[in-house]
Amino acid sequence: MVKKVLKYGMGVLSVALIVAQFIQPERTNSPADLAASFDAVAKPPREVAAVVARACRDCHSNQTEWPWYSRVAPVSWLVASDVKQGRAKLNFSQWNIYSPEMTRIKLGEMCGEVTKGDMPPLYYLPMHPVARVTPREVSAICSVPVAQAR
């Protein structure tokens, strides 16, 4: 009896998982408008451009690299939601939306997040060890001159 229920349960679960694969979140990698990017608009020092590309781009730009497991439900849903939230907060592919005042505020927030070690998120690091931000890079992010950034 117990066996039967278990078997039945497993069956339902696998069917559900298979069905789930077909419900794929939208994974836009919209043609990044190069002229609007952080690199083109803010012209950051090379070190800052590099750390952003290495450690932030997956969640804060339209140039996300989607790893294989990001295609497997339910992980895919969580990943997509993270990227959506991340892009809504800060999008390095759309740096042309900011006034000089907002540019200063966003750079301040970036500095704050990496100083506290809140970004990139801890859970991202085990799979992306290269995304670790060094103390040198933290100070580079914190000293991007604002005049230059817009």
């Binding site: 919209s30 992980v75 969580l78 993270d82 907060k89 301040g108 085990p126």
Partner: protein, 344 residues
Amino acid sequence: MFMGTVACLFALLLGCARSGSESATIDAAKLKAYAPLPEVASAKEAVGERKVTLGRILYYDPRLSKSQKISCNSCHALTQYGVDNQATSNGHKGQKGDRNSPTVYNASLHFVQFWDGRAKNVEEQAKGPVLNPVEMAMTSEKQVITVLKSMPEYVDAFKKAFPDGRDPVTYDNMGKAIGAFERNLITPSRWDKFLKGDQAALTAEEKAGFNTFVASGCQTCHAGSLLGGNMYQKIGIVKPWPDTSDPGRFKVTNSEGDRFMFKVPSLRNIEKTGPYFHSGKIATLKEAIAKMADHQVGKTLSDAGIQSMETWMKSLTGEIPTDYIKQPELPKSTRKTPKPNEAD
């Protein structure tokens, strides 16, 4: 990230539900992204008193419209926090425009003008409505100049405001004078007093409301001295906005990335400037707050949370500069002044 499940665990462990009960003091770190309004006096000096005087007259003069019934003040009533409180405004012969009239108070401090940023400053902006067929509907710059030049008092006022030019009555100078007047339409409020260090300027409930605002993620777009007015953002960035009839900044740039992008509006005087959003279709501030949470940050707020934010937002209501906006006497029409035209 990409280990979503681990992420969830982390979130639980850290109790990272960043909202929750909001205390009645504001952590200084949260205020870094905010600043008080600039002093009115310094703006006044920069633009020149005589330009301001002329600009005030032009602002109130309905003869800048074809019907001679509509002035800037018809849609941006200065005693009404710079708006008409209509979803969309009545223009020439009662025609409706397709967007809500934003306030002119503090507008000069926005990084660009209009919902879609198509004018760079208030001087350039002021030249738009006069010739807009559904607003003031004058047919050409020349027609406007004819009206202005028909009144010696205007010619005199332009000469005083622009002493350098030989022929100062120009369409550009009209825009500059109106802009000069608008640059002093600034409304500091208790929020500014608080930012300058007066802790008692806000009540405990208002402080808690600001904390709710930040915890809800609103500061991502509503920051700076205007709590907006300093960036573009897509309406419906997290959850699509149902009304897609207005493509926003796409109309200006034709760039796909600008579809549904609008200037983030300032929240100064927000309590007084409804109805809300570019369409003016959302009637109450509470509804507007709930819609923002849902579509811009992907959160459903409790009624208490909405109430709390609204309480704080009311502290952004500034004082209307009653003396500054007093309606001046308008130059008298002469025989040469063209007659109103409502026929077409």
